[in-house]
């Protein structure tokens, strides 16, 4: 029942539709060979190239140059055109076609081109920076794939290669092509323990592979033969086997926090440095292991000595969220050199490991030894002067691991033995937010779940001392903790501690060495796994298996095996999809390019070239473009040139025409606001400031949910799967949970509220107004500047009058008039729409 429900999304309401006869000649149009279309000779003077002759019809009206340059600039770079470029183009004495061709070239050469067109592709492959499972683990290395896509567009990587590298770049070994397989790795993850739901991830990957490259809804065949397209269930599992034989990078999930199977992409030098490090590690490890053997005896001798000379001075409980000032009046006692005062913090109940704040000091006359002395030098050593930090769990031992930061926070330093136990400090003068908010300048102890942590003071003095002690729960919401303060009254015991400390020196050295591990760059990518013959899953239930299905290509595209049985078949799959003989690959991509230029495809359903998708409105044009694409070495930039230099593209925008006006996207809006306020950081983004992997503890109760503000282009903004960014969701950006071929454009009052009241919008408008004011003292010149920046044109007389009326009505200082009018201009339909 459960499996049936889980898989049945694709069964939904299929009964009413037509039925496709699989493999029948004369069947699905998109599977037929791409026709060798000879475009007619230009029959009319307006027809500039084969796009025009194949579209035919009436002569379209040529758009004005202002519309053209805004159209081209947003279309190719997603940014407003620079004023100089506008001026040059508008003044260019050559015919429109020649002048515009040069504009197109300059924009194709801009690095911003790749950033914008990569965004289109990232929509299709549902790129995100988190995994999407229940705790939405971050993917700190996925950005390399994102940037690989950007570079591929900028370098005009032939599309056939672009396809092949994303499926099997690790096997092609073309430069950094392994990074391209991030395409497969970013498949969505599901559930609590994602290893147990990999069948859903394979399904997600098959679904995307089919839609993105082939325009086929292959995953509809997971439970039953595809109802409309010639895709039998066997074909689905033939591809499933390819993915099952592939090792995907593992992002981490609630029960398995740490990533694994990331793919190293290091150079020779870095690898050599790593080998040296590993060799040293093995030496340290051997010494530390040998040391452990002798240490047990030393620890036992110390414990025996302590037990014989122990006096409990004080002990008690601190309840959840509580705080106990143990020493209302200081405890007075006498010590001798070499004796020890030991304070232990113990878990109070079974969940009792908890962050505990300590204030502990020992005073004699003018001289004081205090835990607050440790705030700035905790990790100088253990023992640290007169202080020792100990794990009392089973064998007494010194906390061996020195941490210069915790959870990525450099204000926190620690001695640890594994996850817990630990002692640590917040050395900062500010509170630090980690698993709880840690107050400034404070010393903490975190006992382990199984045992206490002790701090021991080895007395360097004789005579009376006063002890102050305060114990507070540093992380409300647990079971509280207990404390115990003991006095070991043998003058020999400090030496026993020191002996134990020295006896642990190799462990400390080993732990310290571990922190010097060279960081090798890795990719979130895939590698070959264990070749697996998959079995058919009955109705998509991974626990109800049918016959074995050999790995193979789609039967509708010729079928056949995908290379050696010893391989996953990914290389074969990549070659079959990236092949000139595949009738879908080129058609699907040229249709996408067309749709991203015109707002609608020749096939209106770019992800569905099946019987339920739309048929092409201009089949000859589609096939001509597909062949031309391949003949020009799969060059996407050549396709842009062909399309954009046509009269069809350059026509004046009209509703319900081939070139309708469009609304700018969420990313274009944000980037435009950053440009207008002169605050766009144009340096390409890389990784995001995720907390270090070693600190991860994301759960479904506390999933990863950070946002990382940046002034870089929107393509570099970190996107999560389970907690969408409010701005991008509001303005119809793609949901990274599923492939988006074409974005919705909706208009909502909540969007208008953004232009009225959003703090970021207001701040951009303010900055824009300062640029306007700085530009000139003359109102007309200011208005011209503003209009040129936003609309690529000068202002009109009417607009000057309108501004002056507005300014008069507002009756405010000029600076305020301009910041108010900047909001008006930045919220205007002329900015938000492209003709």
């Amino acid at each position: 029942m459960k499996a049936l429900r889980a898989i049945s999304g694709m069964l939904a309401v299929l009964a009413s539709s037509g039925v496709m006869v699989a493999g029948e000649p004369g069947g699905l149009w998109s599977l037929k060979p791409i026709a060798n279309v000879q475009p007619p000779e230009p029959a009319a003077s307006w027809e500039r190239n084969p796009v025009d002759t194949l579209i035919g019809g009436e002569a379209p009206q040529q758009a004005d140059r202002i519309s053209l340059i805004r159209r081209a600039s947003y279309d190719l770079t997603g940014l407003p055109p620079a004023a100089e470029l506008v001026g040059k183009f508008v003044a260019d004495p050559r015919p429109d076609a020649d002048a515009f061709a040069e504009v197109v070239e300059s924009m194709l050469a801009s690095r911003h081109y790749g950033e914008h067109w990569a965004r289109h592709w990232l929509d299709v492959v549902r790129y995100a920076d988190t995994a999407g499972e229940n705790s939405d683990h971050p993917l700190p290395h996925a950005w390399r794939y994102r940037n690989w896509v950007i570079d591929a567009f900028n370098d005009d990587k032939p599309y056939g290669q672009f396809v092949e590298e994303q499926i099997a770049g690790d096997l092609l070994e073309r430069g950094d092509s392994v990074i391209a397989t991030g395409y497969l790795a970013i498949a969505r993850r599901f559930g609590h323990d994602i290893d147990e739901s990999m069948h859903l991830t394979y399904d997600d990957a098959i679904d995307n592979l089919g839609k993105a490259f082939l325009g086929l809804s292959i995953s509809c065949a997971r439970c039953h033969d595809h109802k409309h397209d010639p895709i039998p269930t066997r074909d689905y599992y033939a591809l499933y086997g390819v993915l099952e034989s592939t090792k995907f990078s593992f992002p981490g999930c609630e029960p398995k926090q740490q990533p694994r199977d990331l793919v190293p992409i290091a150079s020779g030098d870095a690898l050599a440095a790593m080998q040296v490090w590993e060799k040293q590690r093995d030496i340290f490890k051997a010494k530390a292991a040998a040391e452990l053997e002798t240490q047990g005896a030393i620890a036992k001798a110390l414990k025996d000595l302590a037990a014989k000379n122990a006096k409990t001075i004080s002990k008690g409980d601190v309840l959840d969220a509580g705080s106990v000032l143990v020493t209302e009046n200081p405890i007075e006692l006498k010590v001798r050199i070499g004796e020890v005062l030991q304070l232990s913090i113990l878990p109070r109940a079974n969940h009792g490991a908890d962050t505990t704040a300590l204030e502990f000091s020992i005073t004699q006359g003018e001289k004081t030894w205090s835990t607050s002395d440790l705030l700035d030098g905790l990790i100088d050593g253990n023992p640290n002067g007169t202080w020792c930090f100990l794990d009392r769990a089973s064998d007494l031992k010194f906390l061996p691991q020195r941490h210069e930061s915790l959870d990525g926070k450099s204000a926190l330093q620690a001695w640890k033995g594994g996850d817990t136990p630990s002692v640590f400090v917040n050395s900062s003068h500010d509170p630090v937010k980690v698993w709880t908010t840690l107050p400034p300048r404070m010393f903490f102890v975190h006992p382990g779940p199984k045992g206490p942590v002790a701090i021991a003071w080895l007395s360097p003095i004789d005579g009376p001392v006063s002890i102050h002690l305060k114990v507070s729960d540093g992380h409300p919401g647990g079971d509280g903790i207990s404390w115990e303060l003991e006095h070991f009254t043998s003058p020999a015991i400090a030496d026993a501690y020191r002996h134990l400390g020295i006896s642990g020196s190799h462990q400390t050295a080993f732990a310290k060495h571990a922190t010097t591990k060279p960081a090798l760059p890795v990719a979130y990518a895939v590698a070959e796994g264990k070749p697996t013959q998959t079995k058919l899953q009955m109705r998509g239930d991974p626990e109800d298996l049918g016959e074995e299905v050999p790995r193979a290509f789609l039967s509708a595209l010729g079928g056949g095996t995908l290379g050696s049985d010893k391989s996953s078949g990914r290389l074969g799959l990549a070659e079959r999809i990236g092949s000139r003989d595949n009738p879908l690959t080129a058609r699907v991509m040229v249709n996408r390019i067309w749709a991203w230029h015109f707002g609608a495809g020749i096939v209106a359903t770019p992800n569905d070239f099946g019987n339920h998708g739309a048929p092409p409105t201009h089949p000859q044009l589609l096939d001509f473009l597909a062949r031309d694409f391949m003949n020009k070495d799969w060059s996407i930039k050549a396709m842009h040139r062909l399309v954009m230099n046509s009269a069809t593209y350059q026509q004046s925008a009209r509703e319900y025409s081939l070139m309708p006006p469009r609304r700018i996207s969420a990313e274009e809006l944000r980037d435009t606001l950053l440009v207008a306020s002169d605050s766009l950081d144009r340096v390409p983004g890389e990784g995001h400031p995720f907390p270090p992997e070693s600190s991860w503890n994301f759960t479904q109760h506390n999933p990863f949910s950070a946002e990382f503000p940046t002034e870089k282009r929107s393509v570099y903004v970190m996107r999560k799967r389970n907690r969408s960014n409010r701005f991008f969701a509001l303005f119809n950006a793609a949901d990274p949970n599923a492939s988006t071929a074409k974005r919705d454009v909706t208009t909502a009052a909540t969007q208008a509220l953004y232009f009225m009241n959003d703090p970021f919008f207001h701040s951009c408008a303010k900055k824009f107004s300062m640029r306007i004011l700085a530009h000139s003292d003359d109102t007309r010149a200011r208005l011209d500047f503003a209009c040129m920046e936003l609309f690529a044109r000068r202002s009109t007389d009417d607009e000057l009058t309108a501004f002056e009326e507005f300014s008069t009505a507002l009756a405010a200082p000029k600076t305020e008039s301009w910041s108010a009018y900047a909001r008006v201009l930045l919220g205007s339909n002329e900015l938000l729409h492209i003709d």
């Binding site: 859903l200 479904q700 389970n722 003709d835």
Partner: protein, 464 residues
């Protein structure tokens, strides 16, 4: 950043439109439904309910401690049971499980005599209005999946929320407010997906209200409304010139109108959340301190005021993905959580009833799953996740009050009579809204999708 008091809303709108806003002719054109995905649409058949208030208790409320009395659990406490349960399978320490007794007394409530535990005394007093379903079950024992399922009908994949489906199916009455509002102090499991529109048009996504000083993002003007009016008038002037020079441009037209709506929303939304003119008696009914801007009482009163203003679907989420009903460690944690919602919910039901609004408003109360009637020790303080059985209830428009529907077995482990799956629950809610869950479809990726997938059966037993 200054916040000014609003001038009279009517005056502002009049001056805004007449002075320099849209020409009436354009306004008329803009009314076309094509431009407005939220325009009211007719239902498939006469609706019993016009609005929904969906109360979601995060974390898994124990059915056997609240709405499903199981005296035999008390009688047989400590008895070992053998079950192939998803939460104990391969879990160390859970090799053996034992029945655990409920910790709260049940007693008959109202004229109907439906038994409710002492955790919900106030809701108990409303049982004559409530159709209690004691035989709910769901597919998944994980919070994330079960929460996603309760909201979208899908247990793994992102899909549109039930609120988005209702908005898509019926549109809304008041253009000055969103059609679907989720009021949540913190994000629940599955985050924003629980109120997302997913593949449905974006206008149907839930608008998040976070209790506090700015309940809807960007709804508070950052400049005086006088000045804002001038700016909007200047904006519409520019936009009108733009439209005139472009001819037909439905995106531009729709966006012009959205500013009118936003201005209305800026007036109306703060008004919806301004309780100052609510009487002391009303405040008391909800257990709400005058002037408070959060708490479940605030959320419930806000829900009534939003429904009053025509919002189609209001969801209230009581707590976030931590600190909620997920009482593994100690069932006593249910006490403050129940206290947080009990009086506000009964206040909401009584208030709706006294205003005659309960006739048009469907109130839904649910959680993502129940809690195990057993644990690995009979005296264990907590209970684990239990998706096999739990309790939910409906009240108000079209609902037969004072009844219970379905039963569980003697220990509350499995539904026994009339099991109701989440899909059935959804089908029933849509039915009460006049929507046939099999006909409310959306074409996406070449397929027609439904809230209820290919399942769901209306639960006739709860209909009046």
């Amino acid at each position: 950043m200054t916040h000014h008091r609003h001038p009279s809303r009517r005056k502002v709108l009049r001056s805004f439109v007449a002075g320099s806003g849209l020409m009436p002719g354009i306004l008329h054109q803009l009314a076309a439904a094509e431009l407005d995905p939220l325009a009211p649409k007719s239902a498939h058949f006469p609706a019993r309910a016009k609005n929904v208030i969906f109360l979601f208790m995060t974390g898994g409320v124990s059915h056997v401690d609240t709405f499903d009395p199981k005296p035999n659990l008390t009688r047989d406490v400590g008895k070992e049971v053998k079950l192939d349960h998803p939460e104990i399978k391969n879990r160390p320490g859970y090799e053996r499980i034992f029945l655990k007794a409920p910790q709260w007394e049940f007693s008959p409530r109202g004229n109907c005599g439906t038994e409710v535990s002492s955790l919900f005394p106030h809701v108990g007093s409303c049982m004559d209005e409530i159709a209690l379903i004691r035989s709910m079950h769901t597919d998944h024992s994980n919070h994330y999946n079960a929460t996603l399922g309760m909201h979208t009908g899908s247990f793994s994949f992102a899909r549109p929320s039930i609120g988005a489906w209702v908005s898509y199916g019926l549109g809304t009455f008041n253009k000055n407010l969103p059609s679907f509002i989720t009021i949540a102090p913190a994000q629940t499991y599955a985050g924003t997906q629980v109120y997302a529109s997913d593949f449905l048009p974006g206008a149907h996504q839930g608008t998040l209200v976070v209790p506090g000083p700015e309940p809807i993002a960007n709804v508070n003007p950052r400049i005086s409304t006088d000045r804002q009016q001038l700016e909007l008038a200047a904006l519409q002037k520019l936009n009108r010139q733009h439209l005139t020079s472009r001819g037909n441009h439905h995106l531009a037209e729709a966006r012009m109108r959205s500013f009118e709506t936003a201005f209305g929303m800026q007036m109306e939304a703060p008004d919806a959340f301004d309780f100052s003119r609510e009487s002391d008696a009303t405040h008391q009914l909800y257990g709400l301190q005058r002037g408070a801007t959060k708490g479940f009482g605030w959320q419930c009163l806000a829900a009534r005021r939003l429904v009053e203003r025509g919002v189609r679907f209001v969801e209230l989420i009581d707590t976030g993905s931590s600190g909620n009903w997920d009482s593994h460690g100690n069932m006593k944690e249910h006490e403050p959580l129940a206290r947080n919602v009990d009086q506000p919910i009964s206040g909401l039901l009584k208030d709706l009833k006294s205003r005659g609004m309960l006739e048009d408003t469907l109130v839904v109360w649910t959680t993502e799953f129940g809690r195990t009637p057993f644990n690995n020790k009979a005296d264990a303080a907590g209970r684990e996740h239990h998706n096999w059985a739990f309790s939910s209830w409906l009240a108000g428009a079209g609902v037969k009050g004072g009844i219970t529907h379905g039963t569980t077995d003697e220990y509350g482990i499995h539904p026994e009579k009339d099991p109701v799956h989440v899909h059935d629950f959804h089908a029933t809610i849509l039915h009460l809204m006049g929507l046939d869950h099999e006909r409310l479809t959306y074409r996406h990726s070449g397929r027609d999708y439904r809230l209820t997938d290919v399942f769901g059966k209306v639960v006739d037993g709860v209909l009046s």
